[in-house]
Symmetry: C2
Subunit: 161 residues, 2 copies
DNA sequence: ACCAAAAAGTTGACATATCAACTTTTTGGA
DNA sequence: TCCAAAAAGTTGATATGTCAACTTTTTGGT
């Protein structure tokens, strides 16, 4: 048991959570707000939700990927990816190429239309990001991102201990 | 336009998101994993979900609160709070007291049974927290929490600009 | 005390995230 | 080449988070 950054306070004889220090709470509040706000931006501006836009962005980042590789890159469930890619494909935002002429499974990339949407998406992402990190200087952000990566590493082993 | 901690990379003539630096992505991955893992812990151990447990914990932190005050403290929607409190109350985990004998709206606190469950909840929270922050030292966590609070402040004004 | 307005709470709907079960496709050994 | 096993993908279900519409309760002015 470590006493570093104690997340327990005492109140009238009871132990209670200290919300101001409880990482999971703080992180979840931020993530929920960001996801919700982004989703409403994407839906109103592009007619697609945040899942679809994240998949699209992942295929810009790394084209010619299988569905499973998209899942791995952006930490999304294969069920969500399946539905999102079906929707993107139905709107001709993707190009799917099979390894052989008779193959069924495809590697996906963005179509022209997909790339055009991706550029508009980036504009929205950057504008929002600027507002989110406003008045936080670069060195602090670098440190912060470093800690996020450490947390992700710890979280990967959560259910194996 | 600021160039601090650029979240855009260039790849084959295209601008793409740099996932390793894109805060929203990193934060969401952590929050989703933590919420999902916590929820399964609470459901299997207590038969209640994370929404119910968060409301319970908030009434430990600050007893004798109205539903709206619970919402404000833990940043939860009043719809979710309404459903969670109905469930907690149905299991006799709460005590509700009206301001006057004929009043209808109640201020909520934990019952004996509620406090007992809260103690078990804290054990689970602390165990998980230890694993999440493993090998990250206190000064780094203090800095990290400071940045989280700055982000929360920025996020509060997201839709007003 | 009454009533209109405000606040609080409830209910239904939908987006996101995840799991489990099932189907389809691919892979690799005989 | 054939087939069993593995991998990949699809579909349905459920938990969380949020919004909007509606109902109930409280508040405050007369």
């Amino acid at each position: 048991m470590s006493d570093k950054l104690d997340i327990i306070r005492h109140r009238e004889g009871h132990e209670v959570l200290d919300y101001d220090r409880y990482l999971q709470h703080l992180i979840s509040v931020i993530a929920n707000r960001l996801t919700s706000y982004s989703s409403s931006q994407y839906l109103s501006q592009f007619g697609l939700g945040s899942v679809e836009m994240r998949v699209l962005a992942s295929l810009a980042y790394k084209p010619n990927q299988k569905a499973a590789e998209v899942c791995s890159l952006i930490s999304i469930d294969k069920a969500a990816a399946s539905r999102a890619m079906a929707k993107l494909d139905s709107q001709n935002l993707l190009i799917g190429e099979t390894a052989t002429p008779k193959g069924k499974q495809k590697r996906w990339s963005l179509s022209e239309k997909g790339w055009a949407l991706h550029q508009r998406f980036l504009d929205v992402v950057l504008d929002r990001h600027e507002r989110v990190v406003k008045e936080i200087d670069e060195s602090e952000l670098v440190q912060f991102v470093g800690t996020l990566h450490k947390l992700i590493k710890n979280i990967e082993t959560l259910d194996t201990e």
